[in-house]
Subunit: 222 residues, 2 copies
């Protein structure tokens, strides 16, 4: 390792083995309560919560520290309305024309359709954009690396942060998502990764009774 002046000591907190086991267990118990929610209350989100969650996402490991992401937080009712209208247009096409039958069949357990009232009802939408490159002030391209991987990891941290803070989310992927660039005023070279709907769940909301695969199904130990 060719260490140079630009290195600093790692700030690392070591736990005892018991504490580590306890923490891993607790994290799993907490995160497994997270469910994608499709019905939201319109109650506002306490000040500063979204901000800290996005800052948490921004700490994600990423290719060559380029941090190839941008988050657009929408609380304005008119902009939410525009997003709903545009998303429902795409989704109408998707559910009625573009989606192959087996895809629609796979979506049945979720009770989803082209109506997306949550895009207006929820207090906050977060558009997540991936930046394949950065344009400097002279219009010169600066390449980014492992963009989708980096943005995916940051999104995982964002969803975790929101859940840990007591908020419900919906990972929404209107197909295609190009309209988000226009409404959210992002440059055309950025690619919408997904639209996160954030808020309190509606009282009494229900979620699909679906199961997760077991540890042995998703893991091989060598």
């Amino acid at each position: 390792m060719g260490k140079s002046e630009g290195f600093i000591p790692l700030n690392f907190t070591e736990y005892s083995p018991d504490e580590m086991q306890q923490k891993a267990h607790e994290f799993y118990q907490t995160i497994k309560r997270r469910r994608t929610v499709r019905e939201f209350s319109d109650r506002p989100i306490p000040e500063g919560v979204i901000e800290n969650c996005i800052k948490a996402a921004g700490t994600a490991p990423n290719g060559a520290n380029k941090q190839p992401w941008h988050f657009v937080v929408v609380k304005d009712p008119e902009i939410k309305h525009k997003i709903r209208i545009a998303a429902e247009e795409e989704e109408q096409e998707f559910y009625n024309r573009r989606a192959p039958d087996d895809w629609l069949e796979d979506l049945e357990p979720f009770g989803t359709d082209e109506h997306k009232p949550f895009l207006e009802k929820a207090p906050c939408l977060i558009g997540i954009f991936a930046q394949p490159y950065h344009l400097d002030e002279h219009g010169k391209k600066e390449k980014h690396y492992y963009v989708k991987e980096s943005v995916g990891i940051a999104t995982g941290m964002l969803i975790t942060a929101l859940h840990q803070s007591g908020l419900a989310t919906l990972t929404h992927t209107p197909s295609p998502m190009g309209f988000l660039n226009k409404i959210m005023k992002r440059p055309s070279h950025e690619k919408a990764f997904l639209l996160l709907v954030v808020g309190y769940p509606k009282q009494g909301t229900e979620v699909p009774d679906i199961a997760k695969k077991s540890l042995s199904e998703i893991t091989t130990f060598l």
Copy 2:
């Protein structure tokens, strides 16, 4: 929403606004201590920690609940050795031939090169594979959706879980990663997403003194 029998009440814990603000703040403070580490101790990881972290990753939201991921946990020294040899071959090519100059320049602050001793020294490697489709017992393809997004989110949750449990990680992307399918015995249609190196950091290890963008650089509020 066409709710059917297959729905259950959401198990949701509501916090007070003060608690939410506190939790968002604490999560950010904890996760911002996470740094990618390149020097590991060979101390073993306490029993059960990796397992709970992978279970946490397996709760990630994903396209139509297909859970299009597989994790391969390697602790066997011989297999780690094989992975190191194969990764170093690819990386030798990358650093000396394939990588364009500006990519190498972008990597300079990290002091990385084609030598990857951590792949043997660290007690645990986790290969993360994305499954574009599932092959059923009759060899019939069952399509998966939003595969890279889903696996990226699950990886973000895995890295978070490991950090919260007191482990250091390195998100390693040998380029290309096809050799991992062979050594980790995964079918050829699965795609290696990244290789996570996991363990205690070496005592006294240092990390590059690099900065994260500010909230206002990565976020637009509408």
